[in-house]
């Protein structure tokens, strides 16, 4: 029975983690990723709540464990299969954009929280009861829990390739039912089997007719589908996201088009990823449709001189590739990590799209741009970066997204790849209040300074249309001929120069007049030695992002929040920096709930004992520390492995599997060794904090399969040791039986708090600080064990 129970715990753990990843993907489609994250965080409180529930009902539930464990597994299976369908129903569904407009949406959001809470609560409760009943063998069961969770991450990735996303909850719902069947007992067999049969029936029905995903009205895909005759002509689900291509005669794309253009504009199909705009499908070698690309400010580098060798980073659907072809570049290298989009354009849609990706002068690399920069040795006359922001702004929804291509380190790598007269070009929408263009400029200027350029303004040019600005950073100083060519280009296109060596202020506001001319003062200030003062005084954060803090789109300064609210009003301000606010709100509400869950058992008379605070310290420290390390490693390995999906699967998989092994070994160690283990973990985290980046940097050019091997080898040692403390801790406190479920709850709660907290810390202070905090958590573990109550 023990062996079957160990397998059942592993299967259930795998289902819970896989479902979590699938849910994130689903919610990223119907809402936005930060809301998906918020809901998942709250849902994971199911783990914490299960600990509290166990602490309060331990005696009653342990007596009924034989029947409760399989029954809870069956309920978990049914909930996994059904909650997505419930959340999409008319009476439950919420719209994140309306949260700040209609109070009724808050109730719907809370209802959504509760619905997603259920599968995690049932599953964690089953695991918790198993732990309580088997404290003497906790190492094996905890190992099974970790191994199952690790494999669950990998399972989610595999399933995302195999099935349509909407069908996955039904598929994953089978695993807990199977684990329940493995251990079904004679006690209450009939009830358990009836619930199991109902769960299976639900899974089957939702697999064959999955619920339709109801997109927010404000998702770009939903709005596009409202256009006349709009239809989805291609759809494919994968770990990269749900790719859909929409066709409509009303779709045209010409960002910031010059008002001098009077020609026709071709219709374009548009690619969406997770219902968000990804890019228009441009056609190669058709002069009538690509000539328009000359009339946008991002043609600036070509206005100076001919560009033969062009590198397009994050090429998306190939608009800049089409432009380079149109400008007669002889060798074009396009780098786009989204394998599914590239392969669709090059294969399935090849007959209808004539994508520039398979023009003979173009070579396409489906790898992360930073990985490419590390391994490529060529020099380029032009390097083009993707356009920043979006028309009308993005409400700050990308504030929490790591953008490694827009850091100072990335810009320096690009600088090293420019030919003698080569140019790095980056365009941005002119947002208001202005943020994106200023941060882009600040990053360019600091890159030049870091490269030892004495007069950065001699290497920078910028031109502006009515809605867009393009910066060009040249390897050598701009020549007089360059400057003259740019001026002529501006006159022809009715654009205004913003930055040119030796320019008159009156040139800047001729065709596209800015009523608020402070933009020009800010630009001049950033190029001059007043830059630091502007960083400090401006209402938004403009400091250039680094690999340690790669959040280009995070502009919010907490200290200026009251002033921003005053300026923009209560109703409007949330839409200015939504992402940052959401993560803060998430953290606050999770902390409140988590504190309640931890304090609730304390309020019980028996639990009021000074020694219990050591339990909080010990298991809270373990929960926070482990998750901090996991989250930082995922971010670090995104850069190394070239895709978030690979990084997430590899890091979670390697960490949990190796920690599971550590947990297994822990049964051979005495509980008193926890002190030493805590110190070893803290020390190894500190060593990794300083050494992991240079190590990864030196192996960036390895082939992908070798990188995966190296990832496992690098993660294995600390992850193995990090798997030991939790089961040791449980054995240490198992003399007080009532403490075990409580410890499980605290650990779960702190793990959940750790997720948004780690992101907030990373955004504000950088990944290094998160790693140091993780080490501090394990020091707390050491301190907690040193206390006399545990002696």
């Amino acid at each position: 029975m023990t062996a079957r129970l160990i397998i059942a715990v592993g299967l259930l753990s795998a289902a819970l983690i896989a479902f979590q990843l699938v849910l994130m993907q689903l919610l990223s489609i119907v809402q936005w990723h930060h809301f998906a994250y918020m809901v998942i965080s709250v849902a994971l409180l199911g783990f914490g709540a299960s600990g509290t529930f166990l602490a309060l009902t331990r005696e009653w539930i342990v007596k009924r464990a034989e029947s409760a464990i399989p029954l809870l597994m069956m309920l978990c299976g049914a909930a996994i299969a059904g909650v997505v369908a419930i959340s999409q129903s008319e009476s439950v569904r919420f719209d994140s954009y309306l949260l700040f407009v209609e109070r009724g949406q808050i109730g719907r959001l809370l209802l959504t929280y509760f619905v997603f809470f259920l599968p995690f609560f049932f599953g964690a409760l089953a695991i918790g009861i198993v732990f309580i009943r088997n404290v003497d063998q906790i190492g094996k069961f905890y190992a099974s829990n970790l191994l199952g969770s690790g494999l669950g991450g990998l399972l989610a990735v595999v399933l995302l390739w195999m099935f349509a996303l909407q069908k996955l909850p039904a598929v994953l719902g089978l695993l807990p039912v199977l684990s329940g069947l493995l251990i079904v007992s004679a006690q209450n067999r009939r009830v358990t089997l009836v619930v199991g049969a109902a769960a299976l029936a639900l899974s089957a029905s939702l697999f064959f007719s999955p619920s339709q995903l109801q997109l927010s009205d404000y998702k770009s895909l939903k709005r596009t589908l409202n256009l006349p005759d709009a239809e989805i002509v291609f759809e494919r689900s994968s770990p990269y996201g749900l790719v859909q291509i929409v066709s409509s005669p009303a779709l045209r794309y010409a960002p910031g088009l010059s008002l001098a253009y009077r020609g026709p504009l071709a219709n374009r199909d548009v690619v969406f990823n997770n219902a968000d705009w990804f890019g228009p499908v441009f056609v190669a070698q058709r002069h009538d449709t690509t000539q328009v690309l000359r009339y946008m400010s991002f043609a600036l580098p070509y206005a100076m001189q001919q560009r033969d060798r062009v590198l397009i980073l994050q090429a998306k659907t190939g608009m800049f590739v089409a432009q380079a072809l149109e400008q007669h570049a002889s060798e074009i290298v396009a780098v786009e990590a989204h394998d599914v989009v590239v392969s669709a354009l090059k294969r399935e849609l090849a007959s209808s799209t004539d994508s520039p990706f398979f023009h003979p002068d173009v070579s396409v690399h489906t790898v992360d741009p930073r990985t490419f920069l590390q391994s490529d040795t060529a020099r380029y006359d032009l390097i083009v970066l993707p356009t920043l922001d979006a028309f009308g702004g993005t409400s700050g929804v990308y504030a929490l997204q790591e953008q490694y291509l827009l850091t100072k380190q990335a810009f320096r790598e690009m600088w090293g790849k420019l030919s003698a007269t080569g140019v790095l070009a980056i365009s941005s929408w002119m947002d208001y209040p202005v943020r994106n263009p200023l941060r882009a400029l600040a990053t360019l200027v600091e890159t030049l300074e870091d490269e030892g350029v004495a007069q950065p303004h001699q290497h920078l040019a910028a031109v502006r249309s009515w809605g867009m600005i393009t910066f060009a950073m040249k390897r050598s100083p701009f020549s007089e001929q360059d400057v003259q060519n740019i001026r002529e280009y501006c006159t022809l296109m009715m654009f205004d120069p913003v930055l040119l060596p030796a320019m008159a202020g009156s040139e800047r506001n001729r065709f596209n007049i800015l009523q608020d001319t402070s933009f020009f003062s800010l630009v001049d200030g950033i190029v001059s030695d007043k830059r630091k003062a502007i960083y400090s005084d401006y209402g938004f954060n403009l400091t250039p992002p680094t690999d340690d803090r790669p959040y280009f789109s995070q502009f919010l300064k907490w200290k200026t929040l009251p002033r921003m609210r005053e300026l923009f009003g209560e109703h409007a301000f949330p839409f200015l920096e939504l992402g940052s606010l959401i993560i803060a709100v998430t953290l606050v509400q999770i902390v409140i709930v988590a504190v309640l869950l931890i304090l609730l058992p304390l309020l019980k008379k028996k639990m009021i004992d000074a020694g219990r605070w050591r339990v909080v310290l010990l298991f809270g420290g373990l929960g926070l520390g482990y998750m901090f390390v996991e989250m930082v490693l995922i971010q670090r390995f995104v850069l190394f492995l070239g895709h978030p999906i690979y990084a997430t699967a590899a890091v979670i998989g390697a960490m949990l599997v190796c920690s599971g092994m550590g947990s297994w070994v822990s049964s051979r160690l005495p509980p008193s060794s926890l002190k030493t283990i805590g110190l070893i973990v803290a020390l190894s985290i500190l060593v990794y904090a300083v050494s992991i980046t240079p190590i990864l940097h030196s192996f960036m050019s390895l082939p992908l399969w070798l990188k995966f091997v190296l990832t496992f080898l690098l993660i294995a040692p600390p992850a193995f040791v990090m798997g030991i403390p939790f089961p040791l801790g449980l054995r240490l406190v198992s003399q007080h039986e009532s403490v075990v479920p409580w410890a499980w709850g605290i650990n779960g709660c702190m793990s959940v708090i750790a997720a948004p907290l780690a992101i907030l810390l990373a955004v504000e202070f950088g990944f290094s600080v998160v790693m140091i905090s993780a080490a501090a958590c394990y020091i707390l573990v050491f301190a907690a064990v040193k206390l006399p109550q545990f002696s």
Binding site: L259, S395, Y432
Partner: protein, 225 residues
């Protein structure tokens, strides 16, 4: 007695329960923010905004914010409607083109001032109810067309003013073509609930210039201010 009751009922039915709210909206949200054009203020006082928002949101019709009207579209904040109207300087005798009818509110405001308003809505589910509502409210100088506004309305042009309420990431060349010499086109740029900036396009001979404006209640975010 029966006659008196009937009269009182009729008075109640005909009275506008939102009149006070509308007056307050004009006074505190619009005039207080320096919209001073008398024709615009009169139009904002006259048009019953609550009829242009979904019934479930009527209580918020005169609030100082945009509201959702379905299909991912919004009815703009009253101040923005007034500010955009004032910027194109509408007068009697003008022909105005509106791109993005939505619920028809901006068209109704313009129709209170100018001779004819031509408005185009691409979403069928919005175009028809808006046309019906405007007709029921006797806006006989408004013509609604369910079509792609990208091409404007060549046969009805050229226009003294063009108001684009459903902006795209580029200004369609046909709209620039259909703007009269000296005419004005206004385009809002922003997220659905946060109109950040307005762009005014002016045509003078071969040159087309733009002016990026800021709503007057915002102050530049510069040092020492």
């Amino acid at each position: 007695m029966r006659m008196l009751v009937a009269f009182l009922v009729a008075v109640l039915l005909l009275s506008d329960p939102f009149e006070a709210a509308r007056e307050k909206m004009v006074r505190t949200q619009i005039a207080a923010r320096d919209v001073a054009d008398s024709a615009t203020l009169r139009a904002m006082r006259t048009v019953q905004r609550h009829l242009f928002v979904p019934e479930t949101r009527r209580d918020a019709a005169y609030d100082d914010r945009p509201l959702p009207i379905g299909y991912g579209q919004t009815i703009s904040q009253p101040y923005i409607v007034a500010y955009m109207t004032e910027l194109v300087k509408p007068r009697r005798g003008h022909r105005v083109l509106e791109i993005g009818t939505g619920s028809g509110y901006q068209a109704a405001v313009l129709a209170e001032i100018v001779d004819s308003v031509f408005t185009i809505e691409i979403i069928t589910e919005l175009a028809k109810p808006a046309a019906d509502l405007l007709k029921n409210l006797n806006y006989n100088n408004v013509v609604v067309k369910n079509a792609d506004g990208y091409y404007g309305w060549k046969e009805k042009g050229p226009f003294d003013a063009i108001v684009v309420t459903a902006a795209a990431e580029h200004i369609p060349p046909p709209l620039v073509e259909q703007l009269k010499e000296g005419g004005k086109m206004i385009i809002p740029v922003g997220t659905p609930f946060f109109v950040q900036t307005l762009t005014l396009v002016e045509k003078k001979g071969k040159e087309v210039s733009t002016k990026s404006l800021i709503p007057v209640r915002f102050v530049p975010l510069t040092r020492g201010q």
